[in-house]
């Protein structure tokens, strides 16, 4: 097996590493240093940082619920990819089957929605 197709990828890796190390190393040497309170806080896209848990590392339970719902509905969609690729070949039967599949996913969605799984508070 020839390694030549991997040479540009290796080059890309080396470039990325050099660039990352270089910028991190050079920033404190060249940049001005003016600290204030806002700069020491965690960066959260410019909005007020939400209070962090005291003991460290614990997230509110509702994040888990959101994560669970996200994972399940995200991964169900996996079956759409092979179907979409061969949509033309599968024809009407495939289309109806996929509609049925999506309908069953929506049954679960309706349950989550009606029972308050999507409410944040």
């Amino acid at each position: 097996m020839s390694l030549s197709p991997y040479v540009p990828i290796a080059g890309m890796f080396i470039l990325a590493i050099v660039f990352a190390v270089f910028s991190v190393a050079v920033a404190p040497l060249l940049g001005p240093r003016r600290y204030n309170r806002a700069k020491l806080e965690a960066y959260e896209c410019g909005i007020e940082p939400s209070p962090q848990p005291v003991s460290g590392g614990r997230f509110p339970v509702k994040f888990y619920l959101t994560a669970m719902l996200f994972i399940i509905f995200d991964v169900e969609i996996i079956f759409l990819y092979p179907w979409a690729v061969s949509f033309d070949a599968l024809g009407t039967f495939g289309f109806v089957e996929m509609l049925l599949f999506i309908a069953t996913v929506f049954i679960a969605y309706a349950y989550v929605w009606r029972r308050g799984g999507l409410d944040w508070d």
Partner: protein, 99 residues
Amino acid sequence: MTPTYYLVLSAALFTIGAVGVLIRRNAIVVFMCVELMLNAVNLSLVTFSRTTGTLDGQIMAFFVMVVAAAEVVIGLAIIMSIYRTRRSASVDDANLLKY
């Protein structure tokens, strides 16, 4: 393409996962190790799909991903509820059922 490397990597990942299940204490970490095992199997399936020249393995990999996601959700729900009542996710603390 040499399938051996992929199969060895898959077996190694599977073993790491299995050992992790046996020695880790935190239920969530144990569960992550199970997920590692499932993904190691996926690697094997895709490799075999290539070596045997059939698509069944790739289809199976899709199903494994979906089932793994469903398992994550069920697992997190159970572990969360036991964590709420017990304030601990350590499997060693779950010791009421011993005689």
